[in-house]
Subunit: 141 residues, 4 copies
């Protein structure tokens, strides 16, 4: 099982007045992890060739995160359907490997010109399968 890992250094402006990282920024970290995975799979960062649209995003917050902390987002691919696939993320403290959050995303293979979803090409499917994770239903309730 191959895991894709993205390292994130928490920025000061990502904290809020409660002293911890504001919940909305976990979704920034998850987007960063998702897009780095797409790059790894050979997808262009040119928006004119963009092929993915987000159908759903979820984050379970397990531990508060703080400024000064380095995080690792580990990403695996879950279920791969006809036109969409699931990503599952674990946000860890980079030093202690303590679990900070669990994330989940449903990504649709999308044609921005026609504004319609399309079947996942075989090549993408094969690439995604390399990152197939364990049974996700056990991880996220």
């Amino acid at each position: 099982m191959t895991v894709h890992t993205t390292t994130i250094a928490v920025r000061f402006c990502e904290t809020d007045a409660l002293g911890h990282v504001n919940n909305t920024n976990y979704f920034v970290y998850l987007e960063e992890a998702r897009i780095r995975l797409f790059e790894q799979l050979g997808y262009s960062t040119d928006v004119h060739e963009w092929r993915f649209i987000l159908a759903s995003a979820k984050c379970d917050f397990v531990r508060q995160a703080y400024f000064g902390q380095t995080l690792e987002v580990e990403t695996n691919v879950g279920n791969i359907g006809n036109k969409s696939f699931q990503l599952v993320h674990r946000i860890l403290d980079a030093k202690t490997k303590a679990l900070v959050a669990l994330g989940e995303a449903t990504v649709v293979y999308f044609n921005f010109e026609t504004q319609k979803s399309e079947p996942i090409p075989d090549e993408l499917r094969r690439h995604l399968e390399k990152y197939a994770g364990a049974d996700i239903s056990n991880q996220l309730k």
Copy 2:
């Protein structure tokens, strides 16, 4: 059934290079709706008296949103447990009332001094019950 409504004017910096509102900003809108509801319930905006921490947030993206659009976030309270409760949100286009997104949050009643969750006080429970929605399991898969 009382619904809490927050109006959001999409800001230009909330869009991304795909021309639509970036997914991470829907969670900004949901936080705004959540906190305006807490204010309505009589909770202070003073962080030293802050009583809520987010355990989970989810958003299903139904339609793309754009700059120039005004959105309405309708919020209801779902299941109320011993120490936590659920919020369910519908993000609508303010003019057409078309559904833009569905949101869901699990909020824990939390003491930031002791850093521990606490049972929901009766008064808060009564306030939350006023916003109790229809069966949420029918709305969100």
Copy 3:
């Protein structure tokens, strides 16, 4: 002298761990004020017809701002050149009218198709002149 006013309710996620509004968000407020002024002048919010690009932005932070506060951004037009013009902003507390920050922006009239600046049309110049402020050099050092 006509002043353009935009009202901003500080969002929780705009604060940082120092308990106040993070400096980067003042520039979000200034962009919001700038774009609302452009709308007022009759400019489309459609990005395909977008005509303005920012050459410079500045903010002097006078008082800390906090969650729960409502701010007013007052905007006037400063010097109008051949292809660019200046905006000057005062961010005030909406209740007390205490000065929170002073902002300044240089905006270039820009053609995004050719990616070149163009002379300011007479009609825009006349519109901008309605918002001409007092001598800005006295306000900002």
Copy 4:
């Protein structure tokens, strides 16, 4: 002359509907550079020991930046006063070294407990002097 350098990978959510990096995010990059410099100088990232408050920030936008680009923020110290000092930043494309933006900040040595500015300690002054740049007035108009 020692220059402090911070590397920034542009995130997708930092772009806007014009296809480029939104102006407000340059100030996020400048804050990141500023705080990494403070860390380098031995200052704690613990907000309870935080000693710096921003009095002013400015950015001149020279070239548009895009998703997929890596940026370098080079920082030098300008004038060091009794209770405040200036930082001057150059944002460059990491590959081509093309100038993307010029930044400037005035930072006040600040006691958050008393909420008052304080004279810059000799040790900090000596540290800052190591990053003293060339005459800044030549760089920024």
